[in-house]
């Protein structure tokens, strides 16, 4: 413990040099901007800006990239809240309540709680990273295919809380997402599935294209229609600042989100996205007023925003303690480290303590910087809301298209996004939730492949699942999550009939 603190002080010494403070600031600024732009997520943004690190000192380079990573996590929530347009895949969940808050004139508090929650989560996440990182990493190593499958099943069971009033419609959305995940090349066999002769589909569906198309485009379509028929209205801003009451209400959500996000982040898989979905669902399940979620409940913003920041910390653990990149972002960091001449390995802490501790210390710094940067910006972002919609909508589309185009430089992706937008439009009209589609798309691959791998290893024997205590625990959780609301609602329903 004392050792760790010594290291941390050493790290602060490195992080607080003028040049590194400068890099942290630039990283955070650019990261926030990238996060705000719909479509370009942290991995893409970091990859784009790696050239900026050429010739830099390794520590500075990593500090810069980490700043971008963090900033992008913060920034992604801005457009989600203001425009119902997810800045990146993990921000999809923030759209659910954040945008509803904005429509009620509470954009300010929504943005503020996102920033504050992210800050608290990030800070706690870094502390957790320092102290329980290595043992947690060893635990994560125990996750073989069977455990991963049960984790994915647990993740999918969350759909029950995303489904709103109709579970069947939620399931339809989920299965749609899972189906979309199966389109393309099947990795184990090399067989190409469900392309129906369309070459573009061989690559499968990219999450960004789907998120932008399904959410952003459909949002603009619906809002334009409302505008046209005179039904569009955005309630005037009632308050810019967070009230103490809001903050106190959200603390629980923030803390829960932090811990959920951190532990999910350590595990291999789609860390940020899964973390934000999971924390939102858990928050909703355990809330006394689940019906408020989706209508502008501040905890529905606080929990996922905290979760995805702490997931960012958790995701760094496998990289720093074992040299294993467990997510797209950490893979980019891995590449960046290689480029500055450092090979991540289980001995990274020993061989390059300056890089590791400098990074950790700069994360504290980055957290503070982002809070300072973002809170004043809340007022600015909210002003943007007052742009007349007839300009705002097309501009949002034009910018979103850049995000989509940036994925593959294929204008066919834009057409695809448009078609998905039409799909999203109809889904919204008929009350089919959109979020489960993203959940299915993100988890579908891992779900199917882990199941097949597990059965391949066991030779078709299902015992591999019940021999793993981790898997059993997660299956039980999944079952509990699906059954619990029915028991609660049945109890309430009976009470209502009797009164």
């Amino acid at each position: 413990m004392l050792d760790t603190l010594n290291h941390l002080i050493y790290g602060f010494g490195i992080a607080f040099t003028p040049i590194n403070i400068f890099y942290a600031f630039i990283g955070c600024l650019v990261g926030t901007l990238i996060g705000v732009l719909p479509g370009i997520g942290p991995a893409g943004g970091m990859a784009l800006l790696i050239p900026l690190t050429y010739g830099q000192d390794p520590v500075s380079a990593i500090i810069l990239l980490a700043g971008i990573y963090y900033g992008a996590m913060y920034g992604g929530s801005t457009t989600s809240i203001l425009l119902n347009v997810p800045g990146e895949a993990a921000s999809v969940v923030t759209c659910l309540d954040g945008y509803q808050m904005a429509r009620k004139g509470l954009a300010g508090p929504a943005l503020a709680i996102a920033a504050i929650g992210s800050f608290i989560a990030g800070t706690i996440g870094v502390v957790l990273l320092m102290f329980i990182g290595p043992p947690l990493a060893r635990f994560a190593l125990k996750f073989g295919p069977a455990e991963t499958f049960s984790l994915m099943a647990f993740g999918l069971s969350m759909v029950t809380s995303l489904a709103g009033r109709s579970l069947r419609k939620g399931l339809v959305s989920l299965i749609l997402g899972l189906m979309m995940a199966t389109i393309g090349v099947d990795l184990p066999t090399g067989y190409i599935r469900f392309t129906f002769g369309i070459p573009k589909l061989m690559e499968g569906f990219d999450i960004i294209v789907v998120a932008i198309g399904l959410f952003a485009v459909s949002e603009i379509l619906i809002s334009s229609e409302e505008l046209h028929s005179g039904e569009y209205f955005l309630k005037k801003l009632t308050r810019i600042w967070l009230s103490m009451k809001d903050f106190l209400n959200s603390i629980g959500a923030i803390l829960r989100g932090t811990f959920v996000g951190f532990f999910i982040g350590v595990l291999p898989g789609a860390a940020h996205v899964t973390a934000s979905f999971l924390s939102y669902s858990l928050e909703k399940k355990f809330s006394k007023h689940p019906e408020r979620f989706g209508q502008g409940e501040i905890r529905g913003v606080a929990a996922p925003e905290s979760a995805n920041n702490s997931a960012a910390c958790g995701a760094l653990i496998p990289l720093l303690t074992m040299g294993l990149p467990a997510s797209a972002v950490t893979a980019v960091l891995y590449g960046a480290l290689l480029m500055v001449g450092i090979r991540p390995s289980p001995f990274l802490f020993q061989k390059h303590p300056d890089v590791v501790w400098g990074l950790i210390a700069s994360m504290y710094l980055g957290n503070i910087m982002l809070l300072i940067l973002n809170l004043p910006l809340v007022g600015l972002w909210v002003k943007i809301l007052s742009t007349p919609p007839r300009w705002l909508f097309p501009i949002v589309l034009a910018v979103s298209f850049i995000g989509v185009y940036g994925v593959n430089h294929a204008s066919l992706d834009l057409v695809l996004a448009t078609l998905l937008g039409v799909l999203g439009y109809f889904m919204r009209k008929y009350d089919y939730p959109l979020a489960p589609v993203i959940l299915g798309l993100v988890l579908g691959d891992a779900l199917e492949q882990s199941l097949r791998q597990a059965l391949m290893i066991s030779g078709g024997n299902l015992s591999i699942f019940y021999q793993s205590w981790i898997a059993i625990t997660l299956f039980i959780f999944a079952g509990a999550v699906m059954v619990a609301p029915k028991i609660i609602y049945r109890g309430r329903g009976l009470a209502e009939i009797e009164t």
């Binding site: 800006l49 299965i175 469900f194 046209h228 909508f393 008929y430 391949m456």
Partner: protein
């Protein structure tokens, strides 16, 4: 009177059926992989069909009166504009394509002043292009302007 909700349910059944049929017609041999590439899709297709049937025969209690032909037409126009914009982007280039898209769409959404519309759209398209290509280093096509 066929309700919109029913049509949606039928579409769901159709999607499930098509997917299921495509899944079943995949070859099933795969070495060492007990499930193969068919199993998961077959399950998904079957569930989708069942859900569709369930929703068709036991629809949800609330169904909002939803689409008017006029609204749909309007949405279709915007979709068409967006589709053209996306499809022609490589050809026409980002600055020009965005300019055209903005001018037309903004007018469609209610901007009456061409005096404001044209210069602002041009300015925004150029600004966006420069912002992303110069500052953020994301390459966007120039299209016709290049030639």
């Amino acid at each position: 009177m066929i309700k919109g909700e029913d049509i949606v349910a039928l579409v769901i059944i159709a999607i499930g059926t098509v997917y299921l049929v495509a899944a079943i017609s995949m070859p099933s041999m795969s070495i060492g992989d007990p499930l193969g590439q068919r199993a998961f899709p077959i399950i998904l297709g079957a569930i989708m069909m069942l859900l569709g049937l369930s929703i068709f025969f036991k629809p949800e209690l609330e169904s909002k009166p939803v689409l008017s032909r006029k609204k749909l037409f309007y949405t279709l126009i915007i979709t068409g504009l967006l589709g053209c914009y996306g499809w022609s982007l490589d050809l026409v280039g980002y600055p020009l394509g965005t300019f055209l898209f903005l001018v037309i769409t903004v007018r469609l959404l209610g901007e009456k002043s061409w005096f404001l519309n044209v210069p602002l759209s041009a300015g925004l398209s150029t600004a966006l292009y420069l912002l992303f290509t110069r500052i953020l280093d994301i390459s966007l096509p120039l299209g016709i302007i290049e030639r």
